[in-house]
């Protein structure tokens, strides 16, 4: 989708055109992690970038701020390439990123110091901001004396003190407990809606759907492998937003649907561009990084509830975020034990059988499903069978995977495949030697 449907479009503060990120592989080909994307940040908006973790949200944020260079395409800051300007932006980090050896006041003053502001002036400004975020009285405290919420307030104060035109927030509330996070969200909205800060736009990266719907005027949903803009829509609910309101719930549910439903048409290996003359290679299925035990739990719950459950409600009840639940759902779908329909998870007969079986029978069902649905495991079994001693080194499979994934990802893919294969008793694995051996029936 394009941003054209955002009706009264003034000139954007930051605009990304065909922004793309890819990493070079040792063999000269490139792995794309972010597909060419257009994105614009307009004044007066809180914009949320939503997607499962590891999908490239943070990379996108870093390219927009100029921290990380784009592989192709460019970022414009008021119409000028971001490389030439040094944009007045600030970032609030998930890990707070405070300097533990500086006091609260010194932490907040540091960015002003960097701008060459005189001590008296920068102290005045810092104290004002510290007061505004509710840290009055903690000026001389060191970060380690503060609770998580207080620490993030320092992070926010440090960001606001430079009066950034755009305030970037990278999962700012993920490291906090539920209640503290809610408080901080409220305080942020208060500052923003009350025009108490000169910031003209906020760009927040999150994997929490409700957080996005509570805060944002516009939500962009990222898809995976490679990351791409999957949906882009406005949120018209007036503040303060009622989490139980019909409109709110409907919106949350529809985002759930978007995040779960069409996932599999993209769940293939990232497309790669090869040099001229290199043959295109077949796409490989990408394994979600889960363990069989997690899927068993999900299927048991489903079987318990009559075989059909609304994913959003389930996540809510289990106090899980999409992040934690989606890979498990993906695993079950991949193995044919689950279907996702309109944001609901529906168990299949195979899934039902699995949920009700005992340990040994489960392994048999899992084995059948894995060999039928996971080409990688099938390949591994065949390769092991072809050897007279039924043994191969994991390096061999790593090399196979390296053709499709980045170094890090192929390591994780193999790890997951070994995890599954061991559970299914397809092969044994010796971690010390890195050898895989076919399990004899």
């Amino acid at each position: 989708m394009s941003t054209a449907n955002i009706a009264p479009a003034p000139t954007p503060i930051i605009e990304a055109r065909q922004l793309e990120k890819s990493y070079a592989q040792p063999d000269g080909s490139r792995i794309q992690v972010i597909a060419p994307s257009d994105l614009a940040i307009y004044p007066g908006q809180v914009m949320a970038l939503l997607g499962p973790s590891g999908c490239g949200k943070s990379t996108l944020l870093r390219m927009l701020t100029g921290l990380s260079p784009a592989s192709a395409g460019s970022v414009y800051w008021h119409g000028h390439p971001v490389r030439d300007e040094s944009p007045n932006v600030a970032i609030v980090f998930q890990s707070f990123a405070l300097f533990p050896w500086l006091t609260v006041l010194e932490n907040v003053e540091a960015p002003l110091e960097a701008r060459g502001m005189l001590p008296i002036e920068r102290r005045k400004r810092s104290l004002r901001i510290i007061d505004a975020v509710g840290l009055d009285g903690f000026e001389t405290a060191y970060p380690k004396e503060l609770s998580g919420g207080m620490k993030q307030r320092v992070g926010v104060a440090r960001a606001l003190v430079v009066e950034p035109e755009v305030l970037f927030m990278d999962e700012p509330f993920s490291a906090l407990d539920v209640l503290t996070a809610e408080t901080l969200r409220g305080e942020l909205l208060e500052l923003w809606l009350g025009h108490k800060i000169p910031t003209r736009a906020i760009f927040i990266v999150t994997h929490n759907i409700e957080e996005a719907v509570v805060l944002a005027d516009r939500i962009i949903v990222l898809g995976r492998h490679p990351a791409h803009i999957h949906a882009d829509f406005k949120v018209d609910i007036p503040h303060p937003r009622d989490r139980q309101g019909a409109h709110f719930l409907e919106l949350v549910d529809s985002i759930y649907r978007i995040l779960t439903q069409p996932a599999h048409q993209h769940d293939t290996a990232p497309s790669r561009t090869f040099g001229p003359g290199m043959p295109a290679r077949p796409k490989t299925i990408m394994l979600p990084h889960t363990r069989p035990g997690g899927m068993a739990g999900l299927l048991e719950i489903l079987a318990d509830r009559g075989g059909r459950v609304d994913l959003h409600r389930l996540a809510d009840e289990l106090s899980l975020e999409v992040d934690a639940l989606l890979p498990t759902v993906d695993t079950a779908v991949l193995l044919g034990m689950l279907r996702v329909e309109e944001g609901d998870a529906v168990i299949t007969p195979e899934g039902q059988a699995f949920a009700q079986a005992d340990i040994q029978a489960r392994k048999a069902i899992f084995r059948k499903a894995a060999l039928a649905n996971v080409p990688l495991l099938r390949q591994m079994e065949q390769a092991l069978k072809a050897k007279s001693n039924r043994t191969l080194s994991e390096e061999f499979f790593r090399d196979l995977l390296d053709e499709h994934f980045g170094e890090e990802e192929s390591r994780r893919q193999l790890e997951t495949a070994i995890q599954w294969g061991r559970y299914a008793e397809i092969f044994d694995y010796d971690a010390a030697t890195g050898k895989l051996t076919l399990t004899e029936a």
Binding site: P26, R62, T65, L67, S86, V89, A90, I91, F93, S95, F96, A97, F99, P100, W101, L102, A110, P111, E113, A114, R115, G116, L118, P119, Y142, P143, K144, E145, K151, R158, V162, A432
Partner: protein
């Protein structure tokens, strides 16, 4: 107190595998190693060559007094030497670590170089450095003083440089991003991020370095080189003189002074610094068992110190920050980027060319020098290397044999630990070289006395590293594992085999690596000694190095030094690094 043991465990002398440039293949790393090693050989030769060609005439004769009354003055002399050397080391370590961590290209060479420099026996630098310094200042003691300072410097600088480098490499990405996004100047980044983040590692390594400094100070305050006799008034020369004359009371006085200085340093310098450094701990939550220092509290309360800080240090700091900010901006305005790059690139090329020419020249001459040696000389050298190898490893094994049970006993009994740890720290901080004359006094009468004494010196110099680390390892064994061993009624041997040994393995390894390097270095002092007016020696690579420098045989000295460095590097690469990998993959206690 537990802090010390844990941190000695962290101060790995070997660069962990992480620090190797990512993606480098074996052969590539090997090539770099070889290149770097050649470079070091050339540099060593350079030092010798300069030293020999400048062999000047005049040198003042210093008489070392044996009157206990001079001890305070002598202690001061020694202390000044150590302090100057330490300051030099710190400055150098900061510069080296900073450059290595901020330039990819420099890193490829500088990190393996550190590894090799660490393995070169410091004392074999002695003749070259001394002769060079004396030649530069022929008419004063300054030359000898500077020489001994430089030697102490080479003994303490490498682990500090490595510590700073690896701290810089482990700064979390977000903190870097904060510095970039909020446009910190280089100075501000250094002062507010790089340096504070590395402080704790630097403090612990400084303590280790200074302890090592005492070890070498004892050896290089007084020595013979060819027909020349160098003496510097100090604690080391006092003890050596006392030992060679057999003055028991003077020896005791000297030792007492030595211990007093070390205890004083510990209380007045290190304790307060450790407590102060606590604020640089990179952690999110406040830890419970924080160290304490009465002195620091006193300083903190003393308003004069605070006032001085506010009056002098703070304004200087602010001024620096402002100047650098504005300076950086002005520089950005006046210079256009490409021009600067061009100038820089040419300077880089010129430097590289200069280094290459020097390298070639030095290697050529070193090879010529080495080819003067006969085949028999080399056979003899290798034979003595084998003897030293046996001696060093016997000492290591003996050390491990007693420290493992002792360390485990101390580490798993908190009450015992509280009593034993300060004692162990005390014992460890007395330089083995100071004790050596006394040991010789007792052992020389026995048959094979020097053999025993040599190994004892190696043990004394190195067993503490092992003990510290074993204690730390034993303290880190999780209680539930111990309980599991108890509930399933593991017998004593099973408990050792399945629980204790695997759990302390990574720690033991760290201790053994440090100890191994230390023992090789100690062999130079241990195998060859001036005692009671004569030379006592036993065959070995260390004694070859010592006697070569005594008699001014530079070719033998060069060859034996290179052999020792090679042996140490080989042992590190072939044995310790592999064991490290094993330890970090199999024996890491993870939660």
């Amino acid at each position: 107190m537990s802090d010390l043991t844990l941190s000695t465990a962290q101060a790995t002398p070997l660069p962990p595998a992480v620090t190797r440039p990512a993606g480098s293949r074996w052969s590539w790393a090997l090539l770099i190693d070889i290149a770097v090693f050649l470079f070091v050989c050339a540099a060593i030769f350079g030092v010798y060559a300069i030293g020999r060609s400048w062999l000047g005439p005049v040198h003042p004769h210093v008489e070392i007094s044996q009157n206990p009354g001079v001890l305070p003055l002598y202690a001061l002399f020694s202390l000044v030497r150590i302090s100057v050397a330490y300051v030099l080391s710190l400055v150098f370590a900061l510069a080296y670590g900073y450059v290595a961590a901020s330039s990819r290209r420099a890193e490829i060479i500088m990190v393996p170089l550190l590894d090799i420099l660490q393995s070169i026996p410091v004392l074999s630098f002695l003749p070259g450095v001394m002769l060079a310094m004396v030649a530069i200042f022929p008419h004063s003691q300054l030359g000898v003083e500077l020489g001994s300072i430089l030697l102490i410097f080479t003994g303490q600088v490498w682990n500090m440089a490595f510590s700073f480098y690896s701290s810089l490499k482990t700064i979390p990405r977000e903190l870097h991003e904060v510095a970039i996004i909020y446009r910190f100047s280089r100075w501000q980044r250094f002062a507010e991020l790089d340096l504070p983040f590395s402080t704790i590692g630097l403090v612990w390594n400084s303590m280790m370095s200074v302890a090592g400094g005492w070890f070498f100070l004892m050896a290089c305050e007084m020595f013979v080189l060819g027909n020349r006799d160098f003496r510097l008034p100090g604690l080391g020369s006092f003890l050596q003189t006392a030992a060679s004359h057999g003055h028991t009371s003077a020896i005791l006085w000297g030792l007492a002074a030595m211990i007093a200085v070390i205890v004083l340093l510990d209380q007045v310098v290190w304790r307060p610094i450790i407590v102060w450094a606590d604020k640089f701990k990179f952690e999110q939550v406040e830890s419970s068992g924080a160290a304490q220092s009465t002195l620091l509290q006193l300083i903190g309360r003393a308003s004069i110190v605070l006032r001085l800080y506010r009056l002098i240090l703070q304004p200087v700091f602010h001024w620096l920050t402002l100047t650098f900010t504005l300076g950086a901006r002005r520089a950005a305005e006046t210079f256009s980027a490409p021009k600067q790059n061009l100038v820089r690139r040419w300077i880089g090329y010129l430097l590289a060319a200069g280094v290459l020419v020097g390298l070639g020249f030095a290697v050529f001459h070193a090879v010529r020098e080495l080819s003067d040696l006969h085949r028999e000389d080399y056979d003899e050298l290798l034979e003595s290397a084998a003897l030293s190898f046996l001696r060093v490893n016997t000492a290591l094994i003996l050390g491990a044999l007693w420290t493992i049970p002792a360390g485990v006993a101390i580490g798993s009994n908190p009450r015992l630990a509280r009593i034993a740890q300060p004692l162990v720290q005390m014992a460890a901080s007395i330089p083995a070289t100071a004790l050596f004359p006394i040991i010789l006094l007792f052992l020389l009468g026995l048959r094979g006395g020097l053999e025993i004494a040599a190994m004892l010196l190696m043990l004394l110099g190195t067993q503490w590293y092992i003990l510290f680390n074993v204690i730390a390892g034993a303290m880190a064994i999780p209680t539930d594992l111990k309980e599991a061993a108890q509930i399933y009624r593991f017998r004593s041997w099973d408990r050792w085999r399945h629980l204790i040994l695997p759990a302390i393995f990574p720690y033991l390894l760290t201790g053994m690596v440090t100890a191994s390097g230390g023992a090789w270095n100690a062999s130079i002092v241990a195998e060859y000694f001036h005692f009671q007016g004569r030379i006592v020696s036993t065959a070995g690579l260390g004694s070859t190095i010592s006697s070569a420098s005594d008699s001014g045989r530079f070719d033998v000295l060069l060859a034996s030094t290179l052999i020792m460095a090679t042996v140490v590097v080989l042992i590190n690469r072939l044995l310790w690094r592999r064991l490290y990998r094993l330890a970090s993959s199999r024996f890491k206690l993870e939660t």
